[in-house]
């Protein structure tokens, strides 16, 4: 049996705001094997980005990781000291943030920015080796090595985004977290960036977590999908199961809301709004919008349970629905 590259166990993040404690991540469990691609979907405010930041240990006050562990490649990141964590970033776990292309320094050449990343990790002592790594990283994202001599403004949005991917994979991390890497790009560039990410992932054998709300992108890219809602995982299944036979009522509504080529002009929005994290309803946080909610849903938080070896659903009623059919 392969060793999982990532094990997240009961991860909890709380923001201490003036209005009270906000639980942004409420006991999330996750495992990921090498080479697997996981999609993390949810509405804005569902905790997707908090999850990524928590795994990178980049949650800023007033937020704090309150409990749980993040084990990447056998090392528990939550137990490292700050210096060890700094070294782990980019070499074990790397993060491509939303709008990464705007994070490039406009007055530094691309090569110099990449050199910084390698030097900070003291992994390649001599200059030749550094250059080789930079060239290899640029080539693997389909850019010419001459891009290293350019400034960010000389590149298009898609090229800048691919530079960010190149920086992300410089030190061959075991896990890449990409937070909406294509949200500002048009469809053709989006496909190009995602295909680059795909080929890079295959070369490195790394696992990827793709965060986003575009289910279409998920269908095209990932192997497994995790649906988040109010800081909790609602369902975790393979992409086939998720699209053909979603179980959790929220996942069902999400799949139903997708545009479809066969029924033109038919919309299925999800009625209601996601609750504010400060005032979560008791029990299952989805029950006010759930079409099949029962009394038990208002009283108890449903745990994420394995319904089959590859499917995890957090709903009191899922077993029942199956039996009725």
């Amino acid at each position: 049996m392969t060793q999982p590259v990532l094990t997240v166990n009961n991860l909890q993040v709380t923001y201490f705001t003036e209005a009270g404690r906000v639980r942004a991540l409420d006991g999330v469990n996750l495992t990921l094997n090498p080479g697997e691609k996981l999609g993390l979907v949810g509405e804005s405010g569902s905790g997707k980005s908090t999850m990524a930041l928590a795994m990178m240990r980049m949650i800023k006050p007033p937020g704090r990781i309150e409990g749980g562990s993040v084990v990447v490649d056998g090392v528990d990141l939550t137990k490292l000291n700050d210096e060890e964590m700094r070294e782990a970033r980019l070499s074990r776990i790397s993060y491509i943030p939303q709008g990464a292309m705007n994070s490039l320094n406009p007055v530094m050449r691309i090569g110099a920015q990449m050199r910084d990343a390698i030097k900070a990790h003291k992994l390649a002592p001599d200059a030749d080796d550094i250059e080789k790594r930079i060239n290899a990283a640029l080539v693997s994202v389909d850019l010419k090595p001459t891009v290293a001599k350019m400034y960010p403004h000389e590149l298009s949005g898609g090229m800048k985004q691919r530079v960010c991917i190149a920086i992300g994979i410089l030190l061959h991390p075991k896990l890449i977290i990409a937070d909406e890497p294509t949200s500002a790009l048009d469809v053709v560039t989006q496909r190009q960036v995602m295909q680059t990410l795909d080929s890079v992932q295959k070369q490195l054998g790394a696992a990827i977590i793709l965060i986003g709300h575009d289910m279409g992108l998920m269908a095209q890219f990932v192997d497994k999908v995790a649906v988040m809602y109010t800081g909790r995982l609602m369902e975790l299944s393979t992409v086939q199961d998720m699209f053909t036979n979603p179980q959790h009522p929220y996942a069902v509504a999400l799949i139903k809301s997708l545009p479809n080529l066969n029924q033109r002009g038919v919309f299925h929005g999800i009625p209601g709004l996601a609750p504010a994290l400060l005032r979560l309803p008791p029990g299952c946080s989805f029950h006010p919008r759930c079409p099949i909610a029962q009394d038990i849903c208002k009283a108890q938080v449903p745990p994420l349970e394995a319904k089959t070896p590859t499917r995890f659903v957090a709903c009191h009623l899922v077993e029942k629905i199956k039996n009725e059919k």
Binding site: E43, S44, S156, G157, D186, V187, V188, T189, Q190, R191, Q192, M194, Q195, H213, D214, M215, G216, L217, M218, A219, Q220, F221, V239, Q240, F243, T244, A253, L254, I255, S257, L258, P259, N260, L261, R264, G265, V266, F267, H268, G269, I270, L273, A274
Partner: protein
């Protein structure tokens, strides 16, 4: 048929630099019109830099065309009298991309609705103004008591964008120019906004120009589509025909790159390779030639529009066996 709005050979060129003038053709010789009697939803699609937003600005009268004219109900919009201008401003409304930026965070959202009421003197009493606001909000599926009196930060992006649509509706416009109205809204809330737009078209008889790069949503709301690339029309026609059977290489690339939420329809199934844009636009040939996998010698000349069938036209030499269509008559292929 009397056109509601008509563009005649409209071009827009942006130039910069005092000594070495560099110019960018944002929109190149576009002729289009919308029928006043048959309200429709027309999509203008294209990637960033295709001239979509320039077109929106021109239609709204924010910028003037470099050449060509835009007529609103038969009158050139750059030569309107002050009274006509106010009328134009009232009847042509906009919904913009960012539902966050249009609100002033210091005022409750009522402000966005009450300003146009004051400005256009739509109501002579507070009660009447309130009624108008409620009516407009109901029109987009919001309840007045849920949103009025609240501050922008207390509402979701989807609610805010629907208030923007309600503001446009308040003025009983004849045309709404919606520039990427759903691209910054969560996917699960998009459906409600698109539904409001369709309702405005069907129930209130408002024509809508829906500007987007997202062809999946366009497919669901629009009747016709115009695909722009670097300021030129590549393909146009009935939305169902164009999306299901695209003929121009650019449209094929665009549609092939849509991540359909469908496991049976994989990305890149059409085998359209993606090529980088190399350098700035040169010469007078086909604008897509530098990225086109089917590029030929004759692509150095500008292709005319070839009419493939009643409701589809493509500007590409691959289809030159079909009859040519005059650029000015592009509207003929667009179903109303």
């Amino acid at each position: 048929m009397a056109p509601l709005i008509e563009l005649r050979n409209v071009s827009k060129v942006y130039s910069k630099g005092l000594i070495a003038r560099a110019s960018t053709v944002a929109l190149d010789n576009l002729s289009l019109s919308l029928d006043a009697d048959k309200p429709t939803i027309m999509t203008v699609a294209g990637e960033s830099g295709s001239g979509k937003t320039t077109l929106a600005m021109l239609l709204l009268g924010f910028i003037e065309p470099s050449s060509g004219q835009i007529y609103y109900q038969g009158k050139d919009i750059t030569k309107l009298s002050p009274v006509e201008r106010t009328q134009f401003r009232k009847e042509v409304q906009a919904v913009f991309q960012d539902p966050f930026a249009v609100f002033n965070p210091f005022y409750p959202v009522d402000h966005l609705l009450s300003v146009p009421i004051d400005k256009f003197k739509l109501a002579d009493s507070k009660a009447k103004a309130r009624n108008l606001m409620e009516e407009a909000l109901n029109g987009v599926g919001l309840r007045a008591e849920d949103v009025l009196g609240r501050f922008p930060h207390q509402l979701s992006g989807g609610q805010r964008q629907r208030i923007n649509v309600a503001r446009a509706l308040l003025l009983k416009p004849k045309l709404i120019v919606a520039d990427e109205p759903v691209s910054m809204v969560d996917a699960s809330l998009r459906a409600t906004i698109l539904e409001s737009l369709r309702k405005l078209n069907k129930e209130y008889g408002i024509s809508i120009i829906y500007i987007t790069h997202d062809l999946t949503t366009a497919f669901h709301v629009a009747n016709s589509i115009v695909v722009l690339y670097r300021g030129g029309v590549m393909e146009a026609g009935d939305i169902e025909t164009v999306i299901k059977s695209p003929q121009h290489p650019y449209t094929r690339l665009l549609i092939d790159s849509i991540p359909w939420p469908d496991l049976d329809r994989r990305w890149g199934g059409d085998q359209m390779p993606i090529k980088e844009i190399e350098g700035a636009l040169m010469g007078t040939g086909c604008k897509f030639a530098s990225r086109c996998p089917f590029v030929m010698e004759k692509c150095k000349n500008l292709p005319a529009h070839f009419r493939l069938n009643q409701h589809q036209t493509a500007s590409c030499f691959l289809h030159d066996q079909h009859p040519m269509l005059d650029v000015e008559k592009l509207t003929e292929v667009l179903p109303m």
